[in-house]
Protein backbone atom coordinates (compact mmCIF):
# COMPACT_ATOMS: atom_id res chain seq x y z
CA UNK A 1 0.00 0.00 0.00
CA UNK A 2 2.30 2.71 -1.23
CA UNK A 3 0.89 6.15 -0.46
CA UNK A 4 3.99 8.11 -1.31
CA UNK A 5 3.61 11.22 -3.42
CA UNK A 6 6.44 13.30 -4.82
CA UNK A 7 6.01 16.53 -2.89
CA UNK A 8 3.63 18.96 -1.26
CA UNK A 9 2.14 20.34 -4.46
CA UNK A 10 1.23 16.86 -5.67
CA UNK A 11 -0.15 16.01 -2.22
CA UNK A 12 -2.47 19.01 -2.13
CA UNK A 13 -3.46 18.99 -5.80
CA UNK A 14 -7.17 18.43 -5.08
CA UNK A 15 -7.53 20.87 -2.18
CA UNK A 16 -9.98 23.29 -3.76
CA UNK A 17 -11.51 26.63 -2.86
CA UNK A 18 -14.01 26.42 -0.04
CA UNK A 19 -12.94 23.16 1.58
CA UNK A 20 -12.54 22.56 5.30
CA UNK A 21 -8.90 21.97 6.17
CA UNK A 22 -7.48 20.87 9.52
CA UNK A 23 -3.80 21.43 10.28
CA UNK A 24 -1.68 19.82 13.00
CA UNK A 25 0.64 21.81 15.22
CA UNK A 26 0.61 23.83 18.42
CA UNK A 27 1.82 27.37 17.91
CA UNK A 28 4.60 26.88 15.37
CA UNK A 29 5.60 23.52 16.82
CA UNK A 30 5.01 20.58 14.51
CA UNK A 31 3.20 22.48 11.77
CA UNK A 32 3.05 21.08 8.22
CA UNK A 33 5.39 23.70 6.74
CA UNK A 34 5.60 22.19 3.26
CA UNK A 35 1.86 21.78 2.81
CA UNK A 36 1.21 25.32 3.99
CA UNK A 37 3.73 26.71 1.52
CA UNK A 38 2.17 24.72 -1.30
CA UNK A 39 -1.30 25.99 -0.38
CA UNK A 40 -0.01 29.57 -0.43
CA UNK A 41 1.55 28.96 -3.83
CA UNK A 42 -1.59 27.30 -5.16
CA UNK A 43 -3.68 30.22 -3.91
CA UNK A 44 -6.77 28.26 -2.87
CA UNK A 45 -9.34 30.56 -1.32
CA UNK A 46 -12.26 30.55 1.10
CA UNK A 47 -10.76 27.87 3.29
CA UNK A 48 -12.30 26.96 6.61
CA UNK A 49 -9.24 26.20 8.71
CA UNK A 50 -9.28 24.08 11.87
CA UNK A 51 -6.14 24.46 13.91
CA UNK A 52 -5.37 25.17 17.55
CA UNK A 53 -3.56 28.38 16.52
CA UNK A 54 -3.26 30.55 13.47
CA UNK A 55 0.50 30.89 13.20
CA UNK A 56 2.31 34.22 13.32
CA UNK A 57 2.32 37.02 10.78
CA UNK A 58 5.01 35.55 8.58
CA UNK A 59 4.92 31.84 9.35
CA UNK A 60 2.57 28.91 9.68
CA UNK A 61 -1.08 29.51 8.90
CA UNK A 62 -0.27 33.22 9.14
CA UNK A 63 1.01 32.88 5.56
CA UNK A 64 -2.47 31.85 4.41
CA UNK A 65 -4.03 34.64 6.45
CA UNK A 66 -1.80 37.22 4.85
CA UNK A 67 -2.98 36.17 1.41
CA UNK A 68 -6.60 36.17 2.58
CA UNK A 69 -7.06 32.52 1.72
CA UNK A 70 -8.94 31.76 4.94
CA UNK A 71 -12.64 32.53 5.18
CA UNK A 72 -13.18 31.05 8.60
CA UNK A 73 -10.85 30.02 11.37
CA UNK A 74 -11.78 27.45 14.03
CA UNK A 75 -9.17 27.65 16.78
CA UNK A 76 -8.65 27.90 20.53
CA UNK A 77 -6.01 30.63 20.71
CA UNK A 78 -4.95 33.08 18.03
CA UNK A 79 -2.92 35.53 20.08
CA UNK A 80 0.31 35.91 18.16
CA UNK A 81 -0.91 37.45 14.96
CA UNK A 82 -1.49 41.09 14.02
CA UNK A 83 -2.85 40.27 10.57
CA UNK A 84 -5.33 37.96 12.20
CA UNK A 85 -6.48 40.85 14.36
CA UNK A 86 -6.92 43.11 11.37
CA UNK A 87 -8.89 40.53 9.36
CA UNK A 88 -11.16 39.77 12.28
CA UNK A 89 -11.87 43.37 13.21
CA UNK A 90 -12.54 44.29 9.58
CA UNK A 91 -14.92 41.35 9.23
CA UNK A 92 -12.89 39.88 6.37
CA UNK A 93 -12.58 36.64 8.29
CA UNK A 94 -14.94 34.74 10.53
CA UNK A 95 -13.56 33.24 13.73
CA UNK A 96 -14.93 30.45 15.86
CA UNK A 97 -13.04 30.15 19.14
CA UNK A 98 -13.56 26.93 21.04
CA UNK A 99 -11.89 25.45 24.11
CA UNK A 100 -8.65 23.63 23.36
CA UNK A 101 -9.77 20.33 24.86
CA UNK A 102 -13.07 20.54 23.03
CA UNK A 103 -11.21 21.14 19.77
CA UNK A 104 -8.90 18.16 20.36
CA UNK A 105 -11.75 15.89 21.41
CA UNK A 106 -14.05 16.86 18.52
CA UNK A 107 -11.25 15.98 16.10
CA UNK A 108 -10.59 12.75 17.97
CA UNK A 109 -14.30 11.95 17.79
CA UNK A 110 -14.15 12.04 14.00
CA UNK A 111 -11.22 9.63 13.95
CA UNK A 112 -12.95 7.33 16.42
CA UNK A 113 -16.28 7.31 14.59
CA UNK A 114 -18.08 9.08 17.40
CA UNK A 115 -20.57 11.63 16.02
CA UNK A 116 -20.59 13.69 19.21
CA UNK A 117 -19.00 13.88 22.64
CA UNK A 118 -19.82 15.42 26.00
CA UNK A 119 -17.50 17.88 27.71
CA UNK A 120 -17.85 20.11 30.76
CA UNK A 121 -15.69 22.81 29.12
CA UNK A 122 -17.64 25.98 28.53
CA UNK A 123 -20.73 25.14 30.57
CA UNK A 124 -22.25 28.38 31.85
CA UNK A 125 -20.23 30.49 29.42
CA UNK A 126 -20.99 32.01 26.03
CA UNK A 127 -19.46 28.88 24.47
CA UNK A 128 -22.56 27.02 25.66
CA UNK A 129 -24.97 29.30 23.79
CA UNK A 130 -27.34 27.30 21.64
CA UNK A 131 -25.83 24.02 22.73
CA UNK A 132 -27.48 21.08 24.39
CA UNK A 133 -26.63 20.77 28.09
CA UNK A 134 -27.00 17.49 29.90
CA UNK A 135 -26.27 16.29 33.41
CA UNK A 136 -24.19 13.22 34.04
CA UNK A 137 -22.63 11.73 37.13
CA UNK A 138 -18.97 11.05 36.49
CA UNK A 139 -16.23 10.30 38.99
CA UNK A 140 -18.84 10.52 41.73
CA UNK A 141 -20.01 14.05 40.93
CA UNK A 142 -23.08 15.15 39.02
CA UNK A 143 -22.43 18.05 36.71
CA UNK A 144 -23.40 19.56 33.40
CA UNK A 145 -21.83 18.72 30.07
CA UNK A 146 -22.16 20.21 26.61
CA UNK A 147 -22.92 18.08 23.58
CA UNK A 148 -20.28 18.85 20.96
CA UNK A 149 -20.16 17.38 17.47
CA UNK A 150 -17.27 15.66 15.73
CA UNK A 151 -15.23 17.89 13.43
CA UNK A 152 -14.88 16.21 10.06
CA UNK A 153 -12.50 18.17 7.85
CA UNK A 154 -12.41 17.46 4.12
CA UNK A 155 -8.62 17.46 4.28
CA UNK A 156 -6.10 17.18 7.08
CA UNK A 157 -2.46 18.19 6.81
CA UNK A 158 0.08 17.12 9.41
CA UNK A 159 3.81 16.94 9.85
CA UNK A 160 5.35 13.87 11.47
CA UNK A 161 8.91 13.07 12.42
CA UNK A 162 9.05 9.67 10.74
CA UNK A 163 6.63 7.94 8.47
CA UNK A 164 6.62 4.94 6.17
CA UNK A 165 5.15 4.60 2.70
CA UNK A 166 2.06 2.84 4.10
CA UNK A 167 1.25 5.99 6.07
CA UNK A 168 2.29 4.97 9.59
CA UNK A 169 3.39 8.06 11.52
CA UNK A 170 5.62 8.75 14.53
CA UNK A 171 5.86 12.21 16.07
CA UNK A 172 8.70 13.68 18.09
CA UNK A 173 8.19 15.24 21.51
CA UNK A 174 5.58 18.00 21.71
CA UNK A 175 5.47 18.30 17.95
CA UNK A 176 2.90 15.56 18.45
CA UNK A 177 0.23 17.84 20.01
CA UNK A 178 -2.91 18.01 17.83
CA UNK A 179 -1.35 16.20 14.88
CA UNK A 180 -2.54 12.64 15.62
CA UNK A 181 -6.17 13.70 16.07
CA UNK A 182 -5.99 15.99 13.05
CA UNK A 183 -4.57 13.11 11.01
CA UNK A 184 -7.31 10.75 12.17
CA UNK A 185 -10.11 13.24 11.49
CA UNK A 186 -9.47 14.00 7.81
CA UNK A 187 -11.58 12.54 5.04
CA UNK A 188 -8.32 12.86 3.10
CA UNK A 189 -5.20 13.06 5.25
CA UNK A 190 -1.85 14.26 3.96
CA UNK A 191 1.30 13.72 5.99
CA UNK A 192 4.68 15.31 5.40
CA UNK A 193 7.57 13.77 7.28
CA UNK A 194 11.12 14.61 8.20
CA UNK A 195 12.15 11.01 7.51
CA UNK A 196 10.28 8.86 5.04
CA UNK A 197 11.25 5.21 5.49
CA UNK A 198 10.37 1.82 4.03
CA UNK A 199 7.64 -0.39 5.52
CA UNK A 200 9.21 -2.50 8.26
CA UNK A 201 11.62 0.19 9.43
CA UNK A 202 9.26 1.58 12.06
CA UNK A 203 8.62 -0.48 15.18
CA UNK A 204 4.92 -1.54 15.07
CA UNK A 205 4.66 -0.87 18.84
CA UNK A 206 5.69 2.75 18.43
CA UNK A 207 3.29 3.99 15.75
CA UNK A 208 1.26 7.05 16.82
CA UNK A 209 -1.05 7.13 13.81
CA UNK A 210 -1.67 3.85 11.95
CA UNK A 211 -1.40 4.16 8.18
CA UNK A 212 -5.10 3.45 7.63
CA UNK A 213 -5.76 7.09 8.53
CA UNK A 214 -3.22 8.52 6.08
CA UNK A 215 -3.92 8.82 2.38
CA UNK A 216 -0.78 10.54 1.06
CA UNK A 217 2.69 10.91 2.46
CA UNK A 218 5.80 12.68 1.28
CA UNK A 219 9.32 13.51 2.29
CA UNK A 220 9.30 17.14 3.45
CA UNK A 221 12.13 19.54 2.75
CA UNK A 222 13.77 22.63 4.22
CA UNK A 223 12.17 22.52 7.63
CA UNK A 224 12.59 25.80 9.44
CA UNK A 225 11.07 24.62 12.75
CA UNK A 226 10.88 28.14 14.08
CA UNK A 227 10.83 28.69 17.85
CA UNK A 228 8.11 31.06 18.99
CA UNK A 229 9.27 31.77 22.56
CA UNK A 230 12.91 31.00 23.15
CA UNK A 231 13.36 30.57 26.89
CA UNK A 232 16.67 29.35 28.25
CA UNK A 233 18.71 29.08 31.42
CA UNK A 234 22.32 30.06 31.73
CA UNK A 235 24.72 27.25 32.44
CA UNK A 236 26.12 27.83 35.91
Amino acid sequence: MNKTVKNASEAIHDIKDGVTLAAGGFGLCGIPENCISALVEKGVKNLTCISNNAGVDDFGLGLLLKKKQIKKMIASYVGENAEFERLTLSGEMEVNLIPQGTLATRLMAAGYGMPAIFTPAGVGTEVAQGKEVRKFTFNGVEKEYLLEYALEPDFSIVKAWKGDSTGNLIFRLTARNFSPVVAMAGKITIAEVEYLVEPGELNPNEIHVPGIYVHRIFQGTNYEKRIEQLTVRKKT
Binding site: S76, Y77, Q100, T105, R176, N177, V181, Q229, K235
Partner: protein
Protein backbone atom coordinates in the same frame (compact mmCIF):
# COMPACT_ATOMS: atom_id res chain seq x y z
CA UNK B 1 2.15 43.26 50.05
CA UNK B 2 3.53 40.55 47.78
CA UNK B 3 5.16 40.89 44.39
CA UNK B 4 4.56 38.31 41.67
CA UNK B 5 7.25 36.06 43.02
CA UNK B 6 5.77 36.38 46.48
CA UNK B 7 2.39 35.24 45.20
CA UNK B 8 4.10 32.33 43.45
CA UNK B 9 5.98 31.43 46.64
CA UNK B 10 2.80 31.40 48.68
CA UNK B 11 1.01 29.25 46.12
CA UNK B 12 3.94 26.84 46.06
CA UNK B 13 3.00 25.95 49.63
CA UNK B 14 -0.27 24.53 48.30
CA UNK B 15 1.61 22.02 46.24
CA UNK B 16 1.90 18.72 48.13
CA UNK B 17 3.99 15.64 47.67
CA UNK B 18 2.63 13.32 44.97
CA UNK B 19 0.57 15.92 43.17
CA UNK B 20 0.14 16.29 39.43
CA UNK B 21 -0.05 20.01 38.75
CA UNK B 22 -0.94 22.15 35.74
CA UNK B 23 0.48 25.68 35.79
CA UNK B 24 -1.02 28.42 33.64
CA UNK B 25 0.84 31.23 31.94
CA UNK B 26 2.14 34.18 34.00
CA UNK B 27 2.47 34.04 37.79
CA UNK B 28 1.48 30.35 37.88
CA UNK B 29 4.54 29.48 35.79
CA UNK B 30 6.71 31.07 38.48
CA UNK B 31 5.31 28.67 41.06
CA UNK B 32 7.53 25.91 39.66
CA UNK B 33 10.57 27.80 40.95
CA UNK B 34 9.39 27.60 44.55
CA UNK B 35 8.14 24.04 44.92
CA UNK B 36 10.14 22.53 47.80
CA UNK B 37 12.92 20.27 46.60
CA UNK B 38 12.03 17.57 49.11
CA UNK B 39 8.65 16.75 47.59
CA UNK B 40 7.81 14.97 44.37
CA UNK B 41 5.52 16.88 42.08
CA UNK B 42 4.83 16.23 38.42
CA UNK B 43 4.08 19.17 36.14
CA UNK B 44 1.59 18.62 33.35
CA UNK B 45 1.58 20.86 30.30
CA UNK B 46 -1.65 20.62 28.32
CA UNK B 47 0.08 20.50 24.94
CA UNK B 48 1.15 17.01 25.97
CA UNK B 49 3.81 16.66 28.67
CA UNK B 50 4.03 14.99 32.04
CA UNK B 51 7.18 15.58 34.08
CA UNK B 52 8.00 18.83 32.39
CA UNK B 53 11.37 20.28 33.42
CA UNK B 54 12.84 23.79 33.52
CA UNK B 55 13.91 25.92 30.55
CA UNK B 56 16.80 24.39 28.59
CA UNK B 57 20.36 25.60 28.91
CA UNK B 58 21.34 28.12 26.26
CA UNK B 59 21.95 26.37 22.97
CA UNK B 60 20.16 23.20 24.06
CA UNK B 61 16.67 24.35 23.11
CA UNK B 62 14.65 22.06 20.86
CA UNK B 63 11.94 23.44 18.58
CA UNK B 64 10.00 20.21 19.09
CA UNK B 65 9.83 20.62 22.86
CA UNK B 66 7.68 23.48 24.14
CA UNK B 67 5.15 24.02 26.91
CA UNK B 68 1.59 25.28 26.59
CA UNK B 69 2.91 28.85 26.65
CA UNK B 70 5.02 27.95 23.57
CA UNK B 71 8.22 28.38 25.57
CA UNK B 72 11.12 26.00 25.08
CA UNK B 73 11.33 23.57 27.99
CA UNK B 74 12.99 20.30 28.97
CA UNK B 75 11.86 16.91 30.19
CA UNK B 76 12.63 15.27 33.52
CA UNK B 77 13.31 11.55 33.94
CA UNK B 78 9.99 9.72 33.82
CA UNK B 79 8.54 12.18 31.31
CA UNK B 80 5.77 11.11 28.98
CA UNK B 81 4.58 12.80 25.80
CA UNK B 82 1.04 12.45 24.51
CA UNK B 83 -1.35 14.11 22.11
CA UNK B 84 -3.72 16.98 22.92
CA UNK B 85 -6.77 14.72 23.11
CA UNK B 86 -5.25 12.50 25.77
CA UNK B 87 -3.91 15.55 27.56
CA UNK B 88 -7.36 17.03 27.98
CA UNK B 89 -8.68 13.54 28.59
CA UNK B 90 -6.58 13.22 31.72
CA UNK B 91 -7.60 16.75 32.71
CA UNK B 92 -11.32 15.99 32.32
CA UNK B 93 -10.86 12.66 34.11
CA UNK B 94 -9.50 14.67 37.05
CA UNK B 95 -6.15 12.93 37.13
CA UNK B 96 -4.51 16.35 37.48
CA UNK B 97 -4.71 17.19 41.18
CA UNK B 98 -4.20 20.93 41.08
CA UNK B 99 -4.62 23.65 38.48
CA UNK B 100 -3.12 27.06 39.07
CA UNK B 101 -4.09 29.83 36.70
CA UNK B 102 -4.44 33.56 36.37
CA UNK B 103 -7.71 35.47 36.53
CA UNK B 104 -9.23 38.79 35.55
CA UNK B 105 -12.23 38.44 37.88
CA UNK B 106 -13.46 35.89 40.39
CA UNK B 107 -16.94 35.97 41.86
CA UNK B 108 -17.93 35.07 45.40
CA UNK B 109 -19.53 31.85 44.17
CA UNK B 110 -16.31 30.74 42.43
CA UNK B 111 -17.00 31.85 38.86
CA UNK B 112 -13.91 32.94 36.96
CA UNK B 113 -13.43 35.27 33.99
CA UNK B 114 -10.02 35.32 32.38
CA UNK B 115 -10.28 35.07 28.63
CA UNK B 116 -12.15 37.92 27.04
CA UNK B 117 -12.66 41.65 27.45
CA UNK B 118 -15.56 42.89 25.32
CA UNK B 119 -14.42 45.51 22.85
CA UNK B 120 -10.85 44.28 22.92
CA UNK B 121 -9.52 41.71 20.53
CA UNK B 122 -10.31 38.20 21.61
CA UNK B 123 -7.32 35.94 21.52
CA UNK B 124 -9.15 32.83 22.61
CA UNK B 125 -9.61 30.74 25.71
CA UNK B 126 -6.95 28.16 24.89
CA UNK B 127 -7.20 25.37 27.44
CA UNK B 128 -8.54 27.50 30.28
CA UNK B 129 -12.21 26.53 29.94
CA UNK B 130 -11.33 22.84 29.91
CA UNK B 131 -9.09 23.22 32.93
CA UNK B 132 -11.53 25.17 35.08
CA UNK B 133 -14.47 22.96 34.14
CA UNK B 134 -12.58 19.80 35.06
CA UNK B 135 -10.07 20.36 37.84
CA UNK B 136 -10.86 19.15 41.34
CA UNK B 137 -8.81 21.91 42.86
CA UNK B 138 -8.29 25.31 41.27
CA UNK B 139 -6.18 28.09 42.70
CA UNK B 140 -6.25 31.47 41.04
CA UNK B 141 -3.15 33.66 41.13
CA UNK B 142 -3.97 37.29 40.46
CA UNK B 143 -3.80 40.87 41.61
CA UNK B 144 -6.49 41.81 44.09
CA UNK B 145 -7.40 44.95 42.17
CA UNK B 146 -7.05 45.88 38.52
CA UNK B 147 -5.03 48.75 37.10
CA UNK B 148 -7.97 51.10 37.58
CA UNK B 149 -7.98 50.22 41.27
CA UNK B 150 -11.18 48.18 41.07
CA UNK B 151 -11.57 44.96 42.98
CA UNK B 152 -11.25 41.72 41.00
CA UNK B 153 -13.04 39.79 43.78
CA UNK B 154 -16.66 40.56 42.97
CA UNK B 155 -20.22 39.60 43.88
CA UNK B 156 -20.58 38.51 40.25
CA UNK B 157 -18.19 38.63 37.32
CA UNK B 158 -18.78 41.44 34.83
CA UNK B 159 -16.60 39.91 32.10
CA UNK B 160 -17.59 36.87 30.03
CA UNK B 161 -17.07 33.75 32.13
CA UNK B 162 -14.42 31.12 31.65
CA UNK B 163 -16.11 28.76 34.08
CA UNK B 164 -18.75 28.60 36.78
CA UNK B 165 -18.41 27.70 40.45
CA UNK B 166 -14.97 26.24 40.06
CA UNK B 167 -12.40 28.34 41.93
CA UNK B 168 -11.49 27.02 45.39
CA UNK B 169 -8.82 29.49 46.49
CA UNK B 170 -7.36 32.82 45.40
CA UNK B 171 -3.89 34.08 46.22
CA UNK B 172 -3.27 37.79 45.60
CA UNK B 173 -0.66 40.37 46.60
CA UNK B 174 -2.85 41.07 49.67
CA UNK B 175 -4.37 37.82 50.83
CA UNK B 176 -5.29 34.17 50.61
CA UNK B 177 -9.02 33.84 50.19
CA UNK B 178 -11.15 30.70 49.92
CA UNK B 179 -14.45 30.45 48.12
CA UNK B 180 -16.97 28.84 50.45
CA UNK B 181 -19.22 26.14 48.99
CA UNK B 182 -22.26 28.25 49.90
CA UNK B 183 -20.60 31.34 48.38
CA UNK B 184 -18.48 34.13 49.81
CA UNK B 185 -14.78 34.99 50.04
CA UNK B 186 -13.42 33.65 53.30
CA UNK B 187 -10.26 35.45 54.35
CA UNK B 188 -7.62 32.90 55.27
CA UNK B 189 -4.34 34.83 55.46
CA UNK B 190 -3.04 38.37 55.13
CA UNK B 191 0.08 39.14 53.13
CA UNK B 192 2.98 40.36 55.28
CA UNK B 193 2.29 43.90 56.47
CA UNK B 194 -1.24 44.01 55.03
CA UNK B 195 -4.16 44.78 57.35
CA UNK B 196 -7.60 43.21 57.28
CA UNK B 197 -8.98 46.66 56.49
CA UNK B 198 -6.81 46.96 53.40
CA UNK B 199 -8.18 43.62 52.20
CA UNK B 200 -11.74 44.69 52.99
CA UNK B 201 -11.35 47.85 50.94
CA UNK B 202 -9.92 45.89 48.01
CA UNK B 203 -12.72 43.31 47.99
CA UNK B 204 -16.11 44.19 46.50
CA UNK B 205 -17.60 40.71 46.92
CA UNK B 206 -18.79 39.39 50.26
CA UNK B 207 -15.72 38.99 52.47
CA UNK B 208 -16.06 36.67 55.42
CA UNK B 209 -13.71 37.33 58.31
CA UNK B 210 -13.77 34.98 61.26
CA UNK B 211 -11.45 35.40 64.23
CA UNK B 212 -7.83 36.47 63.97
CA UNK B 213 -6.49 36.39 60.42
CA UNK B 214 -2.92 35.14 60.48
CA UNK B 215 -0.17 36.66 58.37
CA UNK B 216 1.20 34.45 55.62
CA UNK B 217 4.37 32.56 56.32
CA UNK B 218 6.46 32.38 53.19
CA UNK B 219 10.02 31.09 52.96
Amino acid sequence: MLDKNGIAKRIAKEVKNGMYVNLGIGIPTLVANYIPKNINVVLQSENGILNMGPFPFEGEEDADLINAGKQTVTLLPGAAIFDSALSFGMIRAQKVDLTILGGMEVSENGDIANWKIPGKLVKGMGGAMDLVASAKNIIVAMQHVNKAGESKLLPACTLPLTGKKCVKRIVTELAVVDILPQGGFKLIERAPGVSVDQIKRATTGKLIIEGEIPEMVID
